[in-house]
Amino acid sequence: MKNIICFLLFFGSILSWGQEKFTVSGIISEAATGETLIGVNVLIPSLQTGTITNEYGYYSITLPEGEYEFYISNVGFVTQQFTVQLDKNLKKDISLTEDTQQLNEVVIKADIEKLNIRKPQMSVNTLSINTIKKIPVVLGETDVIKSITLLPGVTNAGEGASGFNVRGGAADQNLILLDEATLYNSSHLFGFFSVFNPDAIKDVTLYKGGIPARYGGRVSSVLDIYQKDGNKKQLRAQGGIGAVASRLLLEGPIKKDTASFLIGGRSSYAHLFLPLLDNDNVAYFYDLNTKLSYNLNKNNRLYLSGYFGRDVFTIADSFSNSFGNSTFNLRWNHLFSDKLFSNLSLIYTDYFYGLELSFVEFDFDSGITNFNLKYDFTHFLSDNVELRYGLNSIYYKFNPGDINPTTPTSGINPFKLTDKYAFENAAYLDTEFELSEKIAVQAGLRISTFNRLGQDELNIYENNNPLLFNQDLEIYQKATPIDTVSFKKSETMKSFANLEPRFAISYQLNDDASIKASYNRTAQYIHLISNTTSPTPFDIYAPSGKYIEPQVADQVAVGYFKRFENYSLEVESFYKKVQNRLDYVDDADLIANNAVEQILLSGEARAYGLEVLFRKTEGKLQGWVAYTLSRSEQRTPGRTPLETGINNGAWYNSPWDKTHDISITGQYELSNKWSFSANFIYQTGQPTTFPNGQYEYNNVVVPVYEARNSSRLPDFHHLDIAATWTPKPNSTKRWKSEWVFSIYNVYNRMNAASISFRENTDVNRNEAVRLSIFGIIPSVTYNFKF
């Protein structure tokens, strides 16, 4: 009987074109804290349709007049079910309670999966902070970036390397957003920790491909991270004490249900003990997350958030070093109608790097500052058409370096590298709709422009060529500028524009399986000037301009998605090509270089691969197996047939090319007191360049090198385990605590971070030296909440 009604309703909705439609909309939040929830499923099984909440917990769905059963469902929460008599527009805010009993609501979960199977968005991974917290990591510190490298298509350059690489892209090609603010450095202590305090984070989404049009500015991927808003119900604290770092987070209402604050701090403290060991060297980091959120009324919400992080280290009295991000942003959510959601963001981001070399008596500062204005609209046209559009303007100031003597007797002259300015603008339109019952489409277009604004002393070269080729010696040499020109800051010296189409389509094979395909073009106007294997904190960004073209990437991907009872399988294949990827001539010295155009060549990069993700999302044992088979290469041919280019113009493996990459991660819930987790990671060794000969010049042993990156380090693998013990899981007291015992690299594999070659001066022989960063590392962390 019910089926017949459904059928009639369904048919009715198609036939009655003129029938009146009404909108149900509202905010979905967590009952205990008032925290808005991202990506919650709002399902109407009778129409086989639904929607999900956006980044601010808002949903809106427009349906024909009638009576509907709604299911509100989110992983880890008790599903809510209610009936709606829809004869007028309806505002319905919903709060969900956390599901501590792990109820299995298979029926509804099937519907959620169906929704994901049907959505055209592919190449996306969302990790809940709860999943991330269960993954064992080195020194027991939960880490967002380490967690995403367990996903297919994501690697990093190894232990102790900052940044991460997505689908063969470089680390500077990832757009990293924290509450919509761009971060320029994602690591603390050179990659030992990521800059994200796990307690302050609500949601982590990684787009590896099929990047929606609302994102732009980087060619490879988007890592979109949202911080928690703060508890709107009661004052809460949580924190952890670990072997290396500790953290504490406070959140609570300023005005109950209306305004809340969140403040979280984290710091390493190993350095506090160093003086006891008579060690003058200091290395530490700290960061601070803050947020205020205020619900002005039903239609307006304000958010003020900030992040401040610094790494500091000093060696004896000789060096002192400090760097990090600061971000500050103000966001205003406004509902123009229940179908039109908007968010206006004003964002300030700053990356600072400072170095003081007291023994040579100078200091060096560099950095990048930007002001970002974003206005984004989500238009929920009907239950199956959603439109997103918006504008984005970014003003950049680049400080490539400022050198100042620190003492009157210093031999170093003050020197200011020329500041650079730029203005990036974009407009986008993105739509998601169902073409037929089986085919869904996401289509978008982003138009981006980049104006390199005026600066002092732009170098001018003969024939516009800052890099000469010496044909006899087959080496590149810097050209000498014939003139310099200064422009006003309001002038545009050079401008670029790109059309960036984004397209994704899904075809539903049956209730449990679909195939998807996507194409996207992305443009990137700023370039990290770095010729090391992984980025270093003192690398600077350079804007596109007269001598540097923007990077433009095209990516196509196809995928097969299948759902089984309790399991899911995702298989994707991608091909990506990047134009104008910068490469550096062999003797390039990038530090405090005021004319980087004299050492740069433009090349191309390509990457292709196959990714498999097999995931178990239900039951006591959960986890996934991820396998990636891929290739990532780069080449920089000469600009004319007479030039050699770099590596003789031949394709070479990028430093993050890993042929095979396997990650297995699992969590097992033994009882409510004990749970266990384990990871196993295996990767093909990273490409490297070995010497194939040697000679002596000026008493120095000099290696002769083979073609770039034509050898590999030994394969990289390790197994990590962790156990979490909750002493009193059923305690009704406010104070809740748990112990996390973990062992990183259980079988003490000495993985090579690098193999270097040098002369052992004791025996006057050359030797190969393997540098391993982490052997077996046990650790204990104590986490608490009250």
């Binding site: 904190p537 003797d587 430093p655 000969g693 010049y697 000099v702 540098l771």
Partner: protein, 268 residues
């Protein structure tokens, strides 16, 4: 300066990591000619020893000598005056020569039926002035460090090759004056186990930009500081000598004509 920065970065690795010598199978490339042609002039107008060392590249783990003793080595000045360098021993060829600072000199090497050439001109240098000793140097604040000072001329761009050597060790560095133009500045000497009484010989050579770039890369690639993920992409460094007969079979090394300033210092 890059080295200092890299040193800072490497600190953390030293702190937490472990190094171990291991066996690695390396490929061997075909031997190439290596030329170390260094004409060092103390006083302009005085006779100089024109000296060229020839050897071949060898496998990386091979310690055998590969001197080239069967080459013909000559120097021709721009007026066509030829000076023949004679084999002294172990691949070293030399001859007395008076360098005219205004003239270009071409080094010609005939080896294995192939002709190698390079043309260079004299580069002057300022004098080393004095040495400063710091007994509280090094990471432990207890080692002896020396600074040998000189004053950079302000009018021009200058490039330097700096060396310090004693029984305890050899240090070489190369500078450009971009950040200290016109100032008094120092070359730094620090090797382990320096003690009072040790004799250190400092040398400062005038070089040009091309040599500076060559030596800078070479030092970067040979030093221990190029460890870890902050390693730059290494590549074989090309010098200024061309194989005229067979350009594919390019030689390695460099030919330079420099003024040299030396200073002897006894540690107190």
């Amino acid at each position: 300066m890059k080295k200092y920065v890299l040193l800072v970065v490497c600190f953390l690795f030293v702190f937490t990591s472990c190094e171990e010598a291991i066996d690695v199978d390396l490929n061997d490339s075909e031997p190439r000619l290596v030329v170390e042609g260094s004409f060092n002039v103390s006083e302009i107008g005085e006779q100089t020893q024109a000296r060229v060392e020839l050897s071949l590249t060898k496998p990386f783990f091979n310690n055998q000598d590969t001197f080239v003793n069967n080459a013909e080595v000559i120097v021709i000045d721009e007026d066509g005056v030829i000076t023949e360098l004679d084999l002294f021993q172990n691949g070293i060829y030399n001859a007395p020569l008076i360098i005219n600072p205004e003239k270009e000199y071409t080094l010609q090497i005939n080896y294995n039926g192939e002709l190698y050439t390079a043309t260079e001109q004299f580069k002057p240098v300022v004098s080393l002035e004095f040495v400063e000793q710091d007994d509280n140097g090094g990471f432990d604040n207890e080692s002896i460090e020396l600074k040998a000072f000189f004053t950079d001329p302000a009018q021009e761009e200058n490039f330097y090759l700096f060396q310090g050597s004693s029984d305890k060790g050899f240090m070489v560095d190369t500078f450009n004056d971009e950040f200290f133009n016109g100032n008094q500045i120092f070359g730094f000497y620090f090797v382990e186990d320096l003690e009072p009484g040790d004799e250190v010989l400092f040398s400062l050579y005038g070089v040009d930009e091309q040599f500076y770039n060559f030596m800078f890369t070479l030092l970067q690639q040979s030093s221990d500081q190029s460890d870890g993920p902050f390693e730059t992409q290494p590549a074989t460094v090309r010098g200024n000598i061309v194989n005229q007969t067979n350009p594919e079979n390019f030689p390695l090394g460099y030919f330079r004509i420099s003024q040299i300033s030396t200073l002897q210092y006894t540690i107190e």
